[in-house]
Symmetry: C2
Subunit: 205 residues, 2 copies
DNA sequence: GTCTATAAATTGATAGAC
DNA sequence: GTCTATCAATTTATAGAC
């Protein structure tokens, strides 16, 4: 898909909307910006998606799917648990760095007082941690990890360690790394090993 | 300050603005909402604060100060390092739970592409981690913590483990705790001990 | 399908009376 | 200081030509 002229209008609109909504938030995004970015007229937005709310819903659904759907797939491989965890962190960090604005967009919209659309879409999603909880339970029985490890805590901690450094970049880069872009980039590059070691120390017997 | 009628108008406006801006974001917040919440006329907002930008700047400055200014003060006590860390986590979680919308507000605005105001205010702030880095260095020399601990990594990890569960509440509560509010509240209540243990396992020799 | 023109509603900001 | 009335600009959405 190197030639952007070849994709159809509906797709062009959705791509532009993804960019503008995730960069500016729902309230900050303007239909005119999206039309400009898509290289089409504002009226066409309403022709394909009837309202800003409908377009937002499409983008939010895509964004949430991007970050949530593949979370637990890695834990279905035949690798041992520690390898699965390592591959998960690597994989999730990779997705995050390719889509640095998406987590902030999702969390930002969900935390808005008057945004039923986003909250409703979460309720309809079928993401759940049951399969991951089963795997953790089995590892405990095998004696490979600490007895008192809780799957819920474990997954939240891992996601916190992966997501926070990305969404807090605009504050970490100036405050922690004195505005040195390279220092922040280097920090992120080494992030996988850092997280894996923390998780290892969290769960090892 | 139990009788809200007694505080002056300027203060009433700022209090209302803090609420509305942090709940809705800068673009989502409307001057009319703020006036209504303050129980005054919209024109008075412009009388005290000349523009929405000026009012936003006042709120953002307050919010950032609330979360950032007291971060490193605890590490000036005479307690041993592990006790200082424990007290820091306890203290920071307490501030977070009293102001659950502030971290999301700060990070959300800083991640907006076209928001110079917030980014400028961060640059002007004098928050830095130098004193904390010194303390970590001394502990390493004393041999009380691992040799390869980096202060920058340590503080980011701790903040991640504190802040993420709060800003991700709208997704943790439905996805991880099946919409059981009590289960989430209980999880947060036990959060301090969980984080302290993780940090202990991170740094102990 | 895509555009121009315009309606209709919202919203930040000001003027002026009291 | 506080209010009413109103402006001017923005913004979502629609009507209608091609």
């Amino acid at each position: 898909m190197s030639d952007k002229e070849k994709i159809n209008t509906e797709e062009k609109i959705l791509d532009a909307a993804k960019e503008v909504f995730t960069e500016e938030g729902k309230a900050g995004a303007k239909m005119q910006m999206i039309a400009d970015r898509a290289g089409i007229n504002k009226s066409l937005l309403h022709y394909y998606y009837r309202s800003k709310d409908k377009l937002f819903a499409a983008v939010f659904k895509f964004a949430f799917g991007k970050m949530a759907s593949k979370i637990f797939t890695i834990f279905k491989s035949d690798d041992d648990f520690f390898t699965q965890l390592e591959r998960f962190v690597e994989n999730y960090l990779s997705i995050l760095l390719k889509n640095p604005f998406i987590p902030m967009f999702i969390l930002g919209e969900l935390n808005k007082k008057h945004n039923n659309i986003a909250a409703e879409l979460i309720l309809k999603s079928d993401v759940n941690i049951d399969s991951f909880a089963d795997i953790v339970q089995k590892e405990i029985q095998k004696g490979t990890i600490k007895k008192d490890i809780q799957a819920k805590n474990l997954i939240i901690n891992i996601l916190a360690l992966c997501i926070f450094p990305v969404i807090a970049k605009p504050i970490i880069e100036p405050v922690v790394f004195n505005n040195k872009t390279d220092a922040y980039k280097n920090y992120i590059k080494n992030r996988k090993d850092e997280i894996v070691e923390i998780v290892y120390n969290m769960i090892k017997v």
